[in-house]
Point group: C2
Chain length 414, copies 2
């Protein structure tokens, strides 16, 4: 574990150096790293090929292999991502509040970097460059622990970034990679509270649960999304069908996809036949309660279905007799991610907006908009489903903390 402690110490040194960088220095470095990624394209692909080969040998799922695979286009995408981050405003130094006290103390609340951020993620090498870029622009040192299947790719990308930083005269330890693929090392990493200020897991529900269970470092939970759309009795059906189809099928494997429909019984006879036809076109299986089954043929929904994030061409459906019942159902089964109501009734919409417990609550729009880019943040490190610190899409600001600077003239407390 000594290696890990050394990484921690390096990161702490780096965090003090990084907070001294000007915006121009950071942006210049981001462009330099982008150029370096392009210049080292063929070497990165060569290293990535080793991971792919091992993955194929061990019979990795094609979907996972696809996430692991790099191409020149994908490396270009990583480089462009860094250039986009360089163009975003620097969150650091912003004065959030100024308080003048009667005793003459002047208190200033100023935005500062979080310090050292740990990222634990699955075998997606593009996250390596992405996480570096976001942490770096927000003045943080980052320690990365990527999936073991991507180890050669991650080592290559990290080396390219570190070399480019060094040439810029910036501490390489702005980004460090944990190269051990030992699970015990990952466990130990989650307990490095003395060095790491924030740990962000990015990946499936299992990975996130493991981090929440084991970490002593403050964690931001990201990702799991059992998102609902409630079609109210006052919904405009012309809007409803396209929104539901978009939220369910535009991209099925993402956390802001719709997994479950809640339908007011007064509207089901009108909605369901049209909707079922549209869903069928997209090969979506419907699992409905009795109320749904009375109108269309479908698989019966079980209790388990309501709690499930399918990430697949399946949707559960539940009928209710009021918006209150819809809200109760959603608050019981949702993962506090994104929930939508379709209604033309402002009072009903307001009730839903207020009472549904989720990061993002929508009226008459697709849940697919829960995304840092769609919100105009220009970047995203994940979607927080907890309430502490950050909720919903997390951009650069969400990777910062604040500090109180208090200037006096000799004040003492009476």
């Amino acid at each position: 574990m000594d290696v890990l402690i050394q990484l921690g110490k390096n990161a702490v040194e780096a965090k003090f150096a990084l907070q001294e960088l000007s915006t121009a220095q950071k942006d210049h470095a981001l462009y330099a790293v982008a150029r370096a990624l392009r210049a080292n394209d063929s070497w990165i692909l060569q290293e990535n090929a080793k991971d792919i080969e091992k993955g194929e040998e061990k019979g990795m799922h094609p979907g996972l292999l696809d996430r692991l695979r790099l191409t020149s286009d994908r490396i270009e995408g990583m480089a462009e991502g860094l250039e986009q981050i360089a163009m975003l405003p620097d969150p650091i130094g912003e004065v959030l509040e100024t308080i003048e006290r009667p005793n003459g103390l002047r208190i200033e609340k100023r935005r500062v970097p979080m310090g050292v951020i740990g990222m634990i993620y699955e075998s997606r090498p593009n996250v390596t460059a992405d996480a570096f870029g976001l942490c770096f622009k927000s003045g943080n040192a980052v320690i990365l622990k990527g999936g073991s299947d991507a180890i050669c790719s991650n080592q290559a990308i990290t080396k390219v970034i570190r070399d480019a930083l060094k040439e810029e005269g910036i501490t390489e330890d702005a980004v460090q990679l944990i190269t051990s693929t030992d699970r015990a090392v990952a466990q130990e990493f989650m307990r490095m509270k003395a060095y790491v200020d924030l740990l962000i897991p990015r990946g499936g529900a299992g990975l996130i649960r493991s981090v929440v269970e084991n970490s002593t470092i403050p964690v931001i939970e990201t990702g799991t999304g059992n998102c609902h759309i409630y079609v109210d009795q006052d919904a405009d059906l012309e809007k409803a069908v396209p929104i539901i189809i978009n939220a369910k099928t535009q991209r099925i494997g993402v956390c802001n996809a719709c997994e479950s429909l809640v339908i007011h019984e007064a509207i089901k006879e009108k909605l369901l036949p049209v909707l079922a036809k549209a869903l069928e076109k997209h090969h979506v299986e419907i699992r409905g309660d009795e109320g749904v089954q009375q109108v269309i043929g479908c698989t019966p929904a079980s209790e388990e279905d309501y709690g499930k994030e399918y990430l697949d061409y399946i949707i559960s459906m539940k009928t209710v007799s009021s918006v209150e019942e819809a809200i109760r159902h959603i608050n019981r089964y949702n993962t506090r991610h994104s929930e939508a109501i379709l209604t033309e009734n402002k009072e009903t919409a307001e009730k839903f907006l207020n009472q549904v417990d989720a990061a993002c609550v929508y009226v008459n729009a697709s849940t697919r908009f829960t995304d840092g880019f769609e919100f105009g943040f220009g970047a995203e490190i994940g979607i927080s489903t907890q309430k502490l610190h950050a909720r919903g899409p997390m951009g650069l600001k969400e990777l910062t903390s604040y500090k109180y600077r208090i200037v006096g003239t000799g004040q003492i407390r009476e």
Copy 2:
């Protein structure tokens, strides 16, 4: 553990009810609870006497017995505290940001309650009323786990609050007390992630460490303060001595008291003789490094001294040859709470403000000002020493989260 899960379910029910309350309803209830505490004064004292008796029997430390003991004055203090909270502005509902997107979506970031807050604290019954007041005003349900030595007092106070809420037509489960004094129950409580949104430990370093180690609920660490004052070569010594005496001796057992002095060697000959005399008057023991010992007689300081939160009439002293060395020393040993520089040099002050890693960094003022009341928040639930969510004094706003409300007209994602 079924009892605990029932408490969790009750709290979740209560959180939905509480978020519907108007400011007027909440304030009215706070006044009613204050009246009820006064009216039940003699019964609360009677229950408190049982705790005191048991404490005396088992030979509790007089300091702890003092914290445990209630008097009519202290109950009056609790009631007044609630009335003060009633007079504070309601943080809930504030619109933090409005984003208009090119596609017509209107995104509103609005302040909402955290939901269910858990508080774990030591045997100080006044915290029971205080924690209820702050959580209630900020729209949260609270589950309290107080120290087992205060169980009769806490049960009495909680009952008075709950009865008063009931009379106001407000759910009693706004406040619930864990009555089991079993340690396993406390452990289980820290893992009730499905019901509790935030856990705040309030107490000594041991309690806080145990919560951080064991909780799966997001935690805000509070309290530990190894606070330094750095006396720069450009300090005004007329200001320095009163500030140091104030920070060290005005109240010794608190987290914002100064525990360690860092002194520029260029000023030590002038400062130390005067300072030592002033500290002696207050019976403060000095533990100094060699540089200090060259000027005044004192106990030699060990490495351990620099890392210690004495909470006692002891102060450690370390000489340095530059502000940079002072900053490095402080960043190595501090607990990220409150740090001060005494200097008339603006450039040096700026460097210190920027580079010292702490919630509150002071120029020419006592560290004792790190306090929600002194900052003008009107209330305080603790001092956060972590960077996630809240840093420094936590008032009502720090007990809230936010929610994105997105209103569209049928938007789907391309």
